[in-house]
């Protein structure tokens, strides 16, 4: 029977993998997929903590995380479509006009 710490380790690994993907991949869609991976990690963590404290707050929180994830996905994909229309590419480095 795996304890909370195992879930925390798993969740943090998932989170870190998502972060690495977010900062290192150049495709906008894959970047957002990576953030979804981060969400998975967070959900695993939150539910594990809820179990640790023997209440349902963690699960309710995870539910709201799903809502946020859905919202984020909708807006992010809308933006991706918009940006793709502007420059016909999904390369995030095409949008570096703030370069100093």
């Amino acid at each position: 029977m795996p304890g909370t710490s195992e879930y925390i380790v798993l969740g943090s690994i998932l989170f870190a993998l998502g972060l690495v993907g977010f900062v290192s991949r150049r495709n906008l869609i894959v970047m957002f997929l990576s953030t979804e991976v981060m969400f998975q990690g967070v959900i695993v963590n939150v539910v594990a903590f809820g179990r640790l404290h023997e209440n349902l707050d963690g699960q309710a929180f995870a539910l709201f995380l799903l809502v946020i994830a859905a919202v984020e996905a909708g807006l992010a994909l809308g933006l991706v479509v918009l940006l793709h229309r502007r420059k016909s590419t999904l390369d995030s480095e095409a949008w570096a006009t703030m370069r100093g």
Binding site: L19, F22, S24, R26, E93, W95, A96, G100
Partner: protein, 652 residues
């Protein structure tokens, strides 16, 4: 004066001020409604002011002797601390009354004239409303200048006429020369006004007030506000500073340069500036502040000398000019020189008399020149047309009458007034009188040179010009002014009602302080023969000059060419107006420009250089840091992530 009279005078004064102002506001503000009828507010406003001025004149004339000066406070204008407040107040005395009638009357005729002048083939010109609004505003400013009971109101009007002259000279602001002339007039006037302002400050410092009566009383008692004695040096300084302003406004040497260029404005504007408003302000101010000027013999001498030299100087320039309006402009400068000469030799009444007559004939001449210009399609160079007396009969007659008056032909208005000034000048110093006589000769000569070139000889008009007599409104004004040019002088001959009327104003200043009469000098009590002998002499000189002009420019036109060829240097000097403009360019403007460039250079290299060095430190730092500013979102995310990792390791 009785209380009712004072109330009436107050009302009249308010009407004189507000009617033209209202006219200006209406003409300008209602321009979309009025359009081609925009002259009505101006005419009605100035007309109302004229009527009120006549009312003032009648009341002042009716007042019992010894009570002709009315001081009428209207309201507190600037409430200063410790009793140093300024009122809007009127000072109404014979001088004010005459000035008001002259200013508003001439202005009224000029505005009436402009109704047709500012039209082209019956259609109002561009800026028609603007023109009439500014004209009415001009009259307002000049009325405030004349009517004011303290130096602050005078200064208000003083700057007001400066502003209006700028606006009207630059009326055709699309024309570079007009814009430049307007700027020049404004700037040259600023030079004079600077001195004038300093003079007013000094008066306030010395006497603690700017009200005429108090200042003059203290000057005549020779005390300052604190009771200390007033030194000669201080009063001379005040007088000379005020004179500086007068020289600017009245176009006296060395600040005369703006007036000839002011011809860039429409002709009615020139008539207004030269005859009724603006340039007479200087003479009026010196006469008004007679108490200050006569307290300093030095200042009076300076006034007289400036006047005499300006009169001669401008007359010589006018001899060779070919632009009709320019000739008239120099004649104005010259005549103003006469007025200053008159004031300077303690004959302020004669100077005001000359101002009065000059207003008529100069307005007549300028409007006549405008009429010629109107007929010639904008051409005003006398070399390009001639023999116009058949084409423009009314203009010709009125112009001729005005010219006779200007030349001082016997029995015309200019003759009487000018003669008086020369007479007083002679009794003061023979050189001043001599200059006056020579200038009279030159005046007659150049005036009739212009008349003969323009109206006599074979008929010539510029190509593609349909010459025609001007419209009815213009002719009405011309005829009225011509009548004035002939007849205005008769108010000052024989028993001299004009001088009698003015006498109370100057009794304690110019008359009392006149060194010639007060010391019982022989020439002071000019006998019948001394006076009339001079009349004969000057009248004869004028007739000779006119005949000479006739011979030279109608009968034997080759002589002027020969003279010109014989003395090319002299002609060039006169043609270029003694190189005064060039002198100012080289002497003042170029050094100013050079120093300006030097300052710009210093700014660019020294100050900017230091700043550049200082900014180099943060700039180089930023140069190092800006590589971090990749512009890509993920770069920032990595940074954030690394920071979060470090913090996490530290605190967890």
């Amino acid at each position: 004066m009785s209380v009712e009279t004072l109330e009436t005078l107050k009302l009249c004064g308010i009407v004189i001020l507000l009617a033209p102002l209202a006219g200006a506001v209406l003409a300008g503000g209602l321009s979309p409604v009025l359009r081609g009828r925009a002259h009505w507010p101006a005419i009605l406003g100035v007309g109302a002011a004229f009527a009120a001025a006549l009312c003032v004149l009648i009341h002042v004339a009716d007042a019992p002797a010894g009570e002709v000066v009315a001081k009428i406070p209207v309201y507190e204008w600037i409430a200063g601390g410790t009793g140093s407040s300024f009122n809007v107040e009127f000072l109404i005395d014979p001088l004010t009354a005459i000035m008001l009638v002259t200013v508003t009357g001439i202005s009224l005729l000029v505005v009436i004239y402009s109704r047709d002048y500012m039209r082209e083939r019956g259609q109002p010109e561009r800026g028609y409303e603007r023109f009439f609004a500014f004209m009415a505003l001009f009259v307002f400013a000049m009325s405030a200048l004349v009517l004011g009971g303290n130096l602050l109101l005078l200064y208000l009007g003083w700057e007001g006429v400066g502003l209006c002259s700028y606006l009207l000279i630059g009326f055709y602001y699309g024309k570079p020369s007009a814009a430049a002339a307007a700027k020049k007039a404004f700037l040259v006037n600023r030079v004079g006004d600077f001195g004038f302002g300093l003079g007013i400050f000094l008066i306030y410092l010395s006497f603690g007030t700017l009200q005429y009566d108090e200042v003059f009383r203290m000057v005549q008692q020779g005390v300052l506000a604190g009771g200390e004695p007033l030194t000669d040096g201080r009063v001379t300084a005040i007088a000379l500073l005020l004179l500086c302003g007068a020289c600017g406004k009245s176009a006296q040497l060395p600040l005369h340069v703006w007036l000839p260029d002011a011809m860039e404005g429409p002709s009615p504007v020139s008539a207004l500036i030269h005859a009724a408003t603006m340039v007479t302000a200087g003479v009026f101010m010196v006469a008004r502040c007679g108490a200050i000027f006569t307290a300093s013999a030095t200042a009076m001498a300076v006034v007289a000398v400036i006047g005499a030299v300006t009169a001669l100087f401008a007359a010589t320039i006018a001899l060779v000019q070919t632009d009709m309006k320019r000739i008239l402009a120099y004649s104005t400068i010259s005549q103003l020189g006469y007025m200053f000469l008159g004031v300077g030799v303690y004959a302020a009444d004669s100077a005001i008399f000359h101002l009065f007559t000059h207003a008529f004939f100069k307005a007549c001449l300028f409007l006549g020149a405008g009429s010629v210009m109107h007929a010639m399609g904008g051409i005003i160079d006398v070399r390009r047309f001639g023999g116009l007396r058949k084409i423009l009969p009314v203009t010709f007659i009125t112009f001729l009458l005005g010219s006779l008056a200007l030349a001082g032909f016997p029995m015309f208005s200019g003759f009487f007034s000018k003669d008086e000034i020369i007479h007083h000048a002679l009794s003061h110093h023979w050189i001043l009188g001599g200059i006056g006589l020579v200038t009279a000769l030159l005046t007659a000569f150049y005036t009739f040179r212009m008349v003969f070139l323009a109206f006599f000889g074979p008929q010539r008009v510029p190509e593609r010009v349909h010459a025609h007599e001007s419209g009815g409104w213009m002719l009405v004004a011309l005829i009225a002014l011509a009548i004035g040019a002939v007849g205005a002088g008769y108010v000052g001959v024989g028993p001299k009602p004009f001088h009698e009327f003015l006498a109370p104003v100057f009794a304690h200043t110019f008359v009392a302080n006149n060194p010639v009469t007060s010391h019982g000098h022989a020439a002071g009590h000019a006998g019948f023969w001394a006076e009339y002998g001079l009349m004969v002499v000057s009248g004869g000189l004028v007739i000779i000059a006119i005949l000479a002009a006739y011979v030279l420019y109608v009968r034997q036109p080759w002589i002027p060419a020969l003279v010109k060829a014989s003395f090319p240097g002299a002609h060039r000097v006169l043609w270029n107006k003694y190189y005064v403009d060039e002198l100012y360019d080289e002497g003042l403007i170029e050094p100013a420009r050079t120093s300006g460039r030097a300052c710009v250079g210093a700014d660019d290299f020294v100050i900017d250089g230091v700043l550049w060095l200082i900014t180099m430190v943060p700039r180089s730092l930023a140069y190092l840091l800006q590589t971090l500013q990749s512009g890509a979102l993920q770069g920032y995310a990595v940074t954030m992530l690394a920071a979060a990792a470090i913090i996490g390791m530290l605190i967890l």
